[in-house]
Amino acid sequence: MKKKRRGAGAGIRQCGIGLTAVLLFAFALEMMKSGAGFLTPLLRGHLNIEHAADCLGLGWLMAYVVMSGSPAAAIAMTLLSADALTQIQTFTMVTGSRLGASFIVLLLGFIYAVRGHQRWTVLSTGVLSLLLTASLQLPAIAVGVLILKQGWFDSLRWPWLGRLSLGINALLNPVMSPLSAILPPWALFGGGGLLITLSFQLFDRALPELRFEKAGLHRTSRLIYRPMVMFFLGLLVTMLTLSVSVSIGILVPLSARGYVRRENIMPYILGANVSTMIDTLAAAVILGTPQAVTVVVAHMTSAIVVSLPIVLLAYKPYKRLMSETLEWTMRSKRNFAIFLASLFLVPIALVLS
């Protein structure tokens, strides 16, 4: 009985944290939207961010700075909302945010490994995650740009979006109005950025415990599942957890030794890359900007357009290519350093191009 009560208490606490996270997320987005206007001359003037490639690099580097992809993608949405970016620029900035999402894990792991704390192999999943994300997200840019340029989703209407946005504004206005009057735009934008990062941390704490054991999916460290099974599992779990790294972390308790077969993790990460945009979709909806919603829908569609043929038709050569690239990267500290350096240099080169 006591146990049940404790369980109910924990559930209520988690719901409370989740609700706080949502409110904080919405509030942070509004703050950033109010402050984003000042960024237009900064981005187009001093930083010379004018092309899609610049925005790809910007989103990539921003994810490094905030140590996560989701806040960087949400920032891209607010910039679009404030007309600081075009739809295509926003699309590539969101792609950049995905590419930079798991870099921090690799960097910390590398520092540990150089100091001799860890074996190289513990970095494998991080490297694999980055490789898979890049192999999916980079070709998806072409599909996404085509969708947006052709305006295929322009006919989609979101009539409820305006009403929802009005409701959220009415809820947040008593706090937002005085804040906007007091704080300068840069402080609003910066403060919003910090709060959005905090809201994602709260989301992680509010997550319910997922029990794969009961679903018969507890043997990912030993047996090899069909690629489509792992693809949809990754897609579903990430839809619930909002983060690729959190959904990978959920697999840890399934193996006593913290292992997963690479045949299983590859389609899982591909699926996760499709649904990881769900929080960005929420950001676009909360901002009440139809163009932002279109960008996210285009992003998810292009990820599906690229990943499904890989999983259904070309999975064997694809997994071989990814596995061989992983082997090369992990073969020596020199190779890993080259890989890591390229992750720094490529986005910088994109921004400076």
Binding site: W120, T121, V252, G258, I265
Partner: protein, 278 residues
């Protein structure tokens, strides 16, 4: 004295069919006391060639005190084989693979894989070039308790044919977290056995099974994708035959798991023995 087995050999008069018949004959001489030969030919010319070859092999097997029955049927291989295996319990079926690739396989499917998916018996799929003998076998162990059956069967075959065995285990795992025992993911077989890691203990158990059958055996661990590593090792080590387990998972499990044995049969260019596990 080793218990003899009952075998079903398949012949269709084709080049690969003759390969299967020759391979089956070699194993039957060493292991079987009863052999049924199913001769199927949808093309009349092939039928003549097939029955002549079948009769010659049957005579040779009978000369080795093996009871032989010949069944001649028209029709498709899959249906006839299934009918035959439904009527009689076999320990081993020997079939050939047409080796369809690319679009052809996509459109017509794989005959060998269809049979593997339907019969509940160990199947030897003859593939690749004709071999002078079976002297070196690559036996693959998945690392779980079900592998015992695979390795026991491999040991019996190796003993009967006087072949040596390389026991292969592929580790395709990657570490999910910092606290994972990463060292095991890089270790060779000897290291895993010395360290008494889970895979090391398993390999020692499997080696014991092979040694108990007085088969010369050594353990090997490769790191990478399971199917690719098995096929690469088979090629690198010039093995004459691959032995793998077929894990049949009932109900929903069958929809969840990949069929690695079928993938290996399709990718390997040498005979593959798929040991059925209940």
């Amino acid at each position: 004295m080793t218990q003899k087995i009952r075998m079903l050999l398949y012949s269709d008069g084709s080049e690969v069919g003759r390969l299967a018949l020759a391979l089956g004959q070699r194993i039957a001489k060493a292991m079987a006391d009863t052999v049924d030969i199913l001769s199927i030919a949808s093309i009349p010319d092939e039928e003549d060639v097939s029955i002549q070859a079948v009769k010659a092999i049957a005579d040779e097997l009978r000369a080795n005190d093996i009871s032989v029955a010949i069944y001649r049927r028209p029709g498709a291989m899959g249906e006839e084989l299934l009918e035959q295996t439904d009527a009689t319990d076999y320990d081993l079926i020997v079939i050939s693979s047409r080796g369809r690739r690319g679009i052809k396989r996509l459109l017509a499917g794989s005959r060998a894989c269809t049979i593997l998916g339907t019969v509940a018996t160990s199947v030897l799929v003859a593939k690749g070039r004709e071999r002078r003998g079976i002297s070196h076998i690559l036996a693959c162990s998945a690392g779980g308790p079900a592998s015992k059956e695979t390795i026991r069967f491999a040991a019996r075959v190796a003993h009967a044919l006087g072949a040596s065995v390389t026991l292969l285990h592929v580790m395709s795992q990657v570490a999910l977290e910092e606290s994972a025992q990463g060292a095991d993911l890089e270790a060779e077989a000897e290291e895993l056995m010395e360290r008494e890691a889970r895979e090391g203990i398993h390999l020692e158990d499997m080696l014991e099974i092979l040694h108990n059958e007085r088969v010369e055996a050594q353990a090997l661990v490769r790191h990478g994708l399971v199917v690719e590593e098995i096929v690469a090792e088979a090629k690198k080590g010039h093995f004459d035959m691959l032995v793998i387990g077929a894990h049949t998972t009932p109900n929903i499990g069958g929809l969840l798991f990949s069929d690695l044995s079928q993938q290996i049969v399709l990718a390997a260019n040498r005979p593959v023995l798929i040991v059925h596990q209940d």
